[in-house]
Subunit: 343 residues, 4 copies
């Protein structure tokens, strides 16, 4: 069976490189092209992408000529575009690819708040894909959430389904890779942490409500977030204090994670189990747990009673895999599984 | 005017060294002796204390012979003991010094929950010192709070006085020096963070209520805490989501910090101002702000509306200075100012 | 074909855990038992080994009962002992296992300087194994070098064979895992580096001469070393300024690394290629290159003319894999390949 | 006595900020103006300089209007320019200031190799200032060395004067502040080190020979350097293996550091002592020693016999103070002391 050809938009950045790296060893998807800004187009990938990942540089695609982010320039027969573009250019470029009939699966934030654009985590809300039929077409845009919102929404999902989430106070200990490359200055991060200067908190307060809601209708709970960057390479640690409609004890919550059955069948990059529930008091911890499940699992720990909201716990996921590159790839896998990819 | 002689119990550890370092340049207190475990007693300070601070090793006291933690062994005329003992030995040793007539000013947690032992931050609850008259005597024990509870309680104090605190959700990004020496393993902390394995969260949930209450009566609010160790040398960053009886806007909260008048006159190590209110979105930040006010100020930033509890902000203080060594020294200064030191 | 049973001595420490982890997925060796100090013996492995590696805790061996380090206590039929003991206990325990007929393959430094004990890197000096026939028996001891000496000796080997090494000035940037667990204090390493306080420099100056010499005769060159600990989790970076008998240009040196044929056939954990020669000026770099070749490759870069000694370069290897656990396992593989393992 | 007015060129960068910070509390120099690129000129300093140092932001000069780097735009009566410009613009701008009659004291590398431009460390080669009389004028340019070359040249100076340096193999463990701001990416530096990608090694191999030579004649010794960036905020650690004309033992070398009398009288920022000679095996260490002597001292340790070159040791200095901002300021102080500042 032949693999589905996909092209990567914004292939030179941190997330673009992660997508390329994972496609290089993907069982059902094949990298058909890398695209980037006009300035990079026409050059071999190795010359314009400063490869910043361990392992084989450019994942073996160093000689691939970089294409412009133009649907006309894509390899013949390619109808799927994975976008790791910055939010700015993403808005217009992704729309252009949609208008050209592409399935655009985007990690960018540009279209996440559009009511017709699904914000999807396959293991949580695959039913939101129905929204794509309401988009202008002929193609469509599907987005994945922010790198902090993914572990939080994944951890809230089983609780929301079983008891109903009413309120969440959350904090993050976020890795520097979340800022892209070069991203944070080493001067600011060596032996240091600092409050996140951008709009991460807004995303973390808004996106879980779209994800855990019905297609087109936000879930009705409140999230308050504090996001802090820490000198960790990969892996966002997130704490959550949660008020639920019920009052489960910590063991019930742990059991809910352990027994969670995602509403979608196994996809190529779905980890089994999805949740790693830790017993040790000092876990999860990014250097030890970010790579769990090939970077796609969510590690949960310290599930305890919260005197204020009822229950609290920590969760952790690899921010450029589960939280970005792997999230986008999983959405392509999901689209393939439900028969939504353009022929 | 002669300086008041004080002895340091537990002088070889991280906090003990900080106390010694600060006494070496103190205007009104004089280091009269250093005491430590039986194993160390009798040796010069330099031989038993592996000095781990920048600046002059042993702060010039390397030749001081280490005393046993026995009131009988203290230099004649010394009636004030600053304790940096571990909680275990502190319980009994501090009681013995009290029984011998010493004013024991302790950074240890051993006696903090005793209803007759005040838990004091001079700028917050100096009136709690009244409790000492109810202790068995002839001396007394005064404690300072945990290194995270200090910045949180300091930041809550002006808000509690003006509006009344009802509930707090708090998270920490804690420096490794808070674990003492050797404390955390470098293997666990290099490029990593992890949930605090100890009982820090319980302290942070309990102590602010004693500090902000009346002497002998806890304040009536709930705190829920998540404590995480980060690879920072010094400086605990703390976030707080706070529900107040009133509904101030962020600027009113900021103004309350800026105009705060502590209920005690200026002590030698009181910083002016006590609160540094930051405008930049990425501050406060430990490497840049821990030393503010000679390590005794509290830096506050990102004061914003919290959609869940009303108001949220970050605060930060140097954990072994404002949060430990300097806190204990300030309590001695306070005792001197109010005339409670034994003659 | 059945796998060879091996027991791990000192299985609870950092290197012991790495050995266990790698044996868990080894094609030809099988973990038959874990042994540790008397204090740990009798308990399940999970209770006495604080597992500090990513991935499955205790590599699935958590229920294995820990044995005492006594040859009599080993599982029946086990004749191979991998030792990750500390140098102190290693001296006597390893001798006892040898006397009991075991092939002892040790990462400890205790026996490295014994003239009858080979100090072996399979890809460099497999012929040194001949020495084992001169040992008292009935078993024997084989050691692997120090974690810094391994990458240095590996990188010098092709140059020594082709041109002859005359002198080496070397410096290290060493990861904290090299100190074991808990090892370095986080307080000393956060945003900091420091000269190595132990005898690492002596090992680095002595061991390469034994490895690159003839069995029983040291090579005749001088090494001068400076070792510094840096806040890196895994991966020792080593610089070498080398005077050779010849005067090759950097490209000849690079070509010598690229075309190196080890004097031993491929072993299960031999990486192909052994040397990764980097072109980028900022490589090799531990976080990106330590895992090359499943942790068993040596990354080399910045091969340039040295105005003082002739040629200089950087090399890097994973210190607890290539430099310790993997080195010991490779020596067992070598012993098996040459038919020296006890039947 | 009034302070000498000085202007800072390139005031917005990391070194420019350090110069401004130190001038703010300088006893004999007064900050008369800050200059930067055309893009910044005309704006208040606070708006164009992202202040990245601890302590009072902009050192109290936030409202100072930024000037263009044009001699005509300087405040009336200012004849001294401290330059923290990048090498590129420095070449032409510094020449223009010289042509306008300014004493230009530069931290930039642009003019360091010019035979008529002295490369000066006050405590080492103040006599090189004679070269300024041979410059075109009417002003002149004086440069300070690279941030690694300063501690190395300072440490070599007493040895060179007493015994004569013949050869040096040196390595560095360099702080991230040496790369300016934003400088190194946090992604590259978190839990990582890497070979210096720039021309630092060339500077370290060349500059000490100019500094320790006669005015206009390089010293006749060879330096071979390996420079590596480490995740440290401030403080470059440097190792040196040195061949001297004599063969002193380590204690003689230590004594030579301790008794060193610089060839210039005390300047306002000269530390006393200049060299801190450490006994502990794990020192000097940047987080503990970079601030010694208000950032202007050199810490030396581990003075030992080198089996290859004769003697070896570590030295360390604060790279943006002793190695940059403080170095330039000290050169102004020197010019003032010897009467070379324009009236």
């Amino acid at each position: 069976m032949s693999r589905i050809p996909v092209v990567v938009l914004g292939a030179t950045g941190m997330v673009g490189q992660r997508i390329v790296e994972r496609l290089a060893r993907h069982p059902t998807l094949a990298l058909a092209g890398v695209a980037a800004s006009e300035r990079s187009a026409g050059h071999p990938y190795r010359e314009v992408a400063s490869w910043r990942l361990a392992g084989e540089p450019w994942a073996g695609f160093g000689d691939l000529p970089v294409l412009p982010c133009d649907p006309e320039a894509m390899p013949a027969g390619t109808r799927v575009a994975l976008s790791a573009l910055d939010a700015g250019p993403a808005r217009e470029i992704e729309a252009r690819f949609r208008a050209a009939g592409f399935a655009v699966v985007s990690n960018a934030s540009a279209w996440r708040r559009d009511p017709l654009v699904p914000l999807v985590i396959p293991e949580v809300n695959p039913d939101h894909l129905d929204l794509v039929h309401r988009q202008p077409g002929p193609g469509f845009i599907v987005t994945n959430p922010n790198c902090c919102a993914i572990p939080l929404a994944l951890a809230l999902a089983p609780l929301h389904r079983r008891w109903g989430v009413e309120a969440v106070a959350t904090s993050t200990w976020q890795a520097v890779s979340g800022a892209g490359y070069p991203g944070e200055s080493a001067w600011d991060m060596v032996g240091n942490v600092h409050p996140h200067a951008g709009d991460e908190e807004e995303k973390l307060e808004w996106e879980p409500k779209k994800i855990l809601g019905e297609p087109g209708r936000m879930a009705d709970f409140t999230v308050s977030a504090r996001c802090v960057r820490v000198p960790v390479a990969d892996g966002h640690l997130v704490s959550a204090h949660v008020r639920l409609a019920g009052d489960p004890d910590p063991e019930q919550v742990a059991e809910t994670f352990r027994s969670w059955e995602p509403p979608v069948g196994p996809l190529p990059s779905s980890p089994r189990p999805l949740f790693h529930v830790h017993e040790r008091r000092d876990r999860p911890s990014p250097r030890f747990d970010a790579d769990a499940g090939d970077g796609m699992a969510v590690s949960v720990g310290r599930i305890e009673r919260c005197p204020l909201l009822g229950v609290k716990f920590f969760c952790l996921a690899h921010n450029t895999v589960r939280g970005a590159a792997g999230a986008a790839i999983a959405n392509v896998e999901l689209l393939a599984a439900v028969g939504l990819l353009p022929a």
